[in-house]
Symmetry: C2
Subunit: 338 residues, 2 copies
């Protein structure tokens, strides 16, 4: 592959001049510029980003570490992150942690080794020492969706408390009293937050949330299935199951179907995170939708601000309830925007 030296030779100038042309430095004669450009064209020259990064100490690359690519919520987030980053002149490298802390650390390490300019993280756990070190070590970092309390970096996330309140009110209004929740891992902020908001709102309505109605999940479908099976095996099973993410809702659906129960008559279901498929399940599923695109954009901008020396802003955007038929009542077939 042609290097800058080859271009310089072809154009009959020095490498310094070629570099100036390519970086549109002002003091280059018109003649030199055209000669260089012609040489570039003739050789099909493309600057070596590796060499450039070594010299300039910047890669114009962002790392995005997410907990699970197979989760449509994160897939969508990743897509919008890349879009915004591209608009700002950055590339994105995605690291998929599969909800496994050690895999998360692996990706963080790899990304740091590649000297990415900044890191966008949705932590799969309570935060390894590695993540702490990275944040302290001066690598620009922003948390998105989930965050870690002790680490002082900007956080871009959705606030679900309002939407959870709406949900609980909706369920209560439909006459449901025994509400159960499948929680995310206690180590994640989103895991805790959603349970706490749920418990709080129930208390506000004078309802109890017994421990048996709190299923411990890990944001994966299988755990949603297990938790739901356990609920259904209780002497007094809940009337509603609220899954703290869409994959656990899928698992819950599996379990309900396996038992041959009808929804919403025998049991109701609601989920955090809205996805296109929830419109088409039987019945369509009531869910809490996050403003994914806005979150992604805000997160990338915060990170770019941090990298480029501006002051970044933490952002919290409200999530909203999308009522469908999975909890009962007659509702026109609504859908979330896509």
């Amino acid at each position: 592959m042609a290097s800058i030296k080859d271009v310089a030779a072809e154009a009959g100038v020095s490498v310094a001049t070629v570099s100036r042309v390519l970086n549109s430095h002002p003091s280059v004669s018109e003649e030199a510029r055209t000669r260089v450009l012609a040489a570039v064209e003739a050789l099909g020259y493309r600057p070596n980003a590796v060499a450039r990064s070594l010299r300039t100490a910047q890669t114009r690359t962002l790392g995005l570490v997410i907990s699970d690519v197979l989760n449509p919520y994160f897939t969508e987030l990743a897509r919008f992150v890349e879009e915004e980053a591209r608009a700002l002149g950055y590339s994105v490298i995605i690291g998929n942690a599969d909800e496994r802390p050690e895999l998360q650390d692996h990706h963080i390490r790899t990304l740091i080794d590649r000297r990415i300019d900044g890191l966008l993280v949705s932590p799969a756990d309570g935060g390894s020492s590695l993540m702490r070190d990275v944040a302290l070590g001066g690598t620009p970092m922003v948390f998105v969706d989930r965050w870690i309390p002790g680490i002082d970096v900007p956080v871009v996330r959705a606030d679900g408390t309002g939407a959870v309140k709406d949900l609980v009110a909706h369920l209560h209004g439909l006459g449901h009293r025994r509400l159960a929740i499948i929680a995310g891992p206690a180590a994640t902020t989103t895991g805790n937050e959603r349970v706490e908001a749920f418990r709080e709102d129930m208390r506000g309505l004078g309802l109890a949330l017994p421990d048996a109605y709190i299923g411990q999940g890990d944001f994966q479908a299988a755990s949603g299935r297990r938790a739901t099976e356990r609920f259904l095996a209780l002497a007094e099973p809940p009337e509603v199951v609220f899954a703290a993410d869409n994959l656990m809702a899928l698992g819950a659906l599996d379990a309900i179907r396996a038992r041959g129960l009808r929804m919403p008559d025998d049991i109701a279901l609601a989920a955090f995170d809205d996805i296109p498929w929830f419109v088409h399940t039987d019945p369509p599923i009531t869910a809490i939708a996050q403003p994914t695109a806005d979150l992604a954009r805000a997160a990338v901008r915060a990170l770019a601000d941090l990298i480029e020396g501006r002051t970044p802003q933490s952002v919290t955007l409200p999530a909203r309830l999308v009522v469908r038929r999975s909890c009962g009542g007659a509702v026109t077939n609504q859908r979330s925007d896509r």
Copy 2:
């Protein structure tokens, strides 16, 4: 961030020795080794991958350019690709083309500029001149899922013809005679192949496939919706719609629902690509499942073979029909493996 020089100074040896220790070169004394390792530990040193890549002319990175991350099929493919690549000591950078040729070219160019060791591509179109140049230019390249006829690189894909034959037979057996298909872009191999197989099998059963029953889609949900609306507006609408990918099936589902039609009584639906949600739609959707994990593994191995100088193999694996209730008949609730 500490460099190899700092480590050398700390350990009281030369940078050459440090490098030897880090690359486990045999001729280093035990004493020097322990001193270096201690220094590495003390400084928290991590080798700069950028500098290393510049010198060794390899990045141990694979580029994966897919047509649409939001398509669960490709998301899953990407996940398995990364998994296998990691096992082989490579990182993966994903480029999402969003079914847009110019975005695809953008990502290919970016990846080449970063001097990735090899490229895995599922082309969104018939192949730009850029892609041709890259393949000819000696960058190791492998096509996965879709490919481009004129370009001589290994292809790893699923063969859907057998499954399509099974599907058509299944539909015929249920008494359906007017079958329509929503095709993918003519520029993609998978787009054409699926239509051709479908047409061929219908001919084999003595059925015609009129042009009005061939919808032109682009593998996106909206196009599936439009095509289905057109089918339903016909004087004699089809009894079955077969969508050539899962997103167009989602769009078809939207259209069917919007018309208030019942499935499978008023109209039947089948799709290429099976995804977890198809089990939970109303009714569950009959689909053709690809062996995604195996495809991903085979593709990565072929690319690694190419990169490391071994002879790569093109691989074709069979897809299989998964019958559910969306086309009629009484079928036990089956699901694809996940």
